[in-house]
Subunit: 266 residues, 2 copies
């Protein structure tokens, strides 16, 4: 049993985090979900519209607040006992059903808005999305063997800055590194493979014609994503990090950038 | 006028984001604020205790929800017109008063919990924390010239993983890179200089004696932070990113890791 939650073929989840109707993101959300509906049953998590609470707190645990223990472990116990709050269980059910995940958000302070960060904090519980050594599988359920393997994700992100500022050696850090905690530390951790980022640069100053062009570029991208190659990161079980949890010295010696964790880099 | 909000000497703000009483973080928070109180007036933002709402939404803008515009720009206008919500204004006042900022949180999904991310999303508005070209200063008010210059910050972070997993070439990415969006993209962006990270590794399995040791280690660290050197990143105005917004090719040629943005690296 390598996949705990087999996805339902033909189902996608569009996870969306922007507060404003009429915004660029709103246009992309509507254009994207409509285009994807031609081939998928598209579930949506419009976090602002749902008034999703992003704060992982004692309310998630289903036990008295003074119960001792680590909150992340206690949330995992609440999952295994079916005691998670209804809103979290609904999001887990949508994610479990989807074979394709779209994560769309504006880049705020070089990361996802809080409402999206908290979706991961609350929904990706221990036991559901990852776990310790699996006796049947023989490996820890994380980094490529997480509870949600068998899924692909596309990240759609709008940025106020230009491609140079968040490109390689850009003053704000390159976007691949800035989103490493999401792409690798979150999605890959739980087993979800990602496609190349879909980025809209200079997003704040777009005229209506530019918004239309970006909506069309997203539709075009979605049309062919089923055949796009995914990025593969190194798996914990492959031995590249053997014993030390750091990348073996003979692999890409001397390099310290986050790109060393891509599997196709040697 | 290079500093918009001159801090009040001897004032510190301890920004804290953990939900559980009796946790390691709770112990560190109490030990740290008590120790720091010997030399500072310590303001606190205990985000869970305050039930801080981390979601930047139309409620922040003080205008009808259907008003057109970009939410980040509209929040800046709300700041300049004194229309931000009371909770945001209170947090801005505390931050403006502090010459020392402590940011304490557990590492969740390789970044700050949502309640802390949203504090930055909502509190660091345009006009307050950063801005475009300042006619008096002659430079954009960001990356070293932000609205909050003259402040230092210490990040206190607890991690469930060991030092190797989040160290150089560690499987989860090195912590310096994982926190670059906070240290550089947020704090340095608004002008706040940071000290070396204060990290507690293997935080989930600490026995009471280990918690006491970590509390003492934090007290010891706080005793000498006034004389610690800060990390300096390259400033936008210094010309290292001239014209292209990417680091000049003659500086650290070939390197693509985020460490290239430190000023003392050449």
């Amino acid at each position: 049993m390598t996949i705990t939650h087999p996805p339902k073929p033909g189902t996608a989840l569009w996870l969306y985090a922007h507060p404003r109707r009429g915004s660029l993101n709103d246009h992309l959300f509507r254009a994207g979900t409509e285009a994807l509906s031609a081939r998928y049953e598209v579930l949506t998590s419009d976090l602002h519209a749902q008034e999703f609470d992003p704060v992982l707190s004692n309310r998630d645990l289903g036990i008295p607040a003074d119960t001792p223990g680590n909150i992340v472990e206690l949330a995992g116990e609440a999952y295994s006992r079916g005691r998670l709050p209804a809103d979290v269980r609904e999001e887990q059910a949508k994610l479990a059903a989807a074979e394709l995940l779209i994560v769309q958000f504006p880049l705020w302070w070089y990361g996802p808005p809080a409402i999206l960060k908290g979706w991961f904090d609350r929904v990706l519980t221990n036991g559901f999305a990852y776990g310790d050594l699996d006796p049947e599988l023989g490996v820890p359920r994380r980094y490529g063997d997480g509870g949600l393997i068998g899924r692909r994700a596309l990240i759609v992100v709008t940025a106020g800055e230009d491609a140079r500022s968040i490109g390689p050696r850009g003053i704000s850090g390159d976007l691949e590194s800035l989103l490493f905690p999401l792409v690798h530390g979150t999605l890959w951790y739980v087993g979800i493979e990602t496609l190349d980022l879909h980025v809209v640069y200079d997003a704040d100053g777009l005229e209506p014609a530019g918004v239309d062009l970006e909506a069309q570029r997203l539709r075009d991208r979605l049309r062919t994503i089923d055949t796009e190659p995914v990025r593969r990161f190194r798996r914990l079980r492959d031995g590249d990090y053997q014993e030390t949890r750091a990348l073996r010295g003979d692999l890409l010696p001397g390099r310290t950038d986050l790109g060393i964790h891509l599997a196709d880099h040697g």
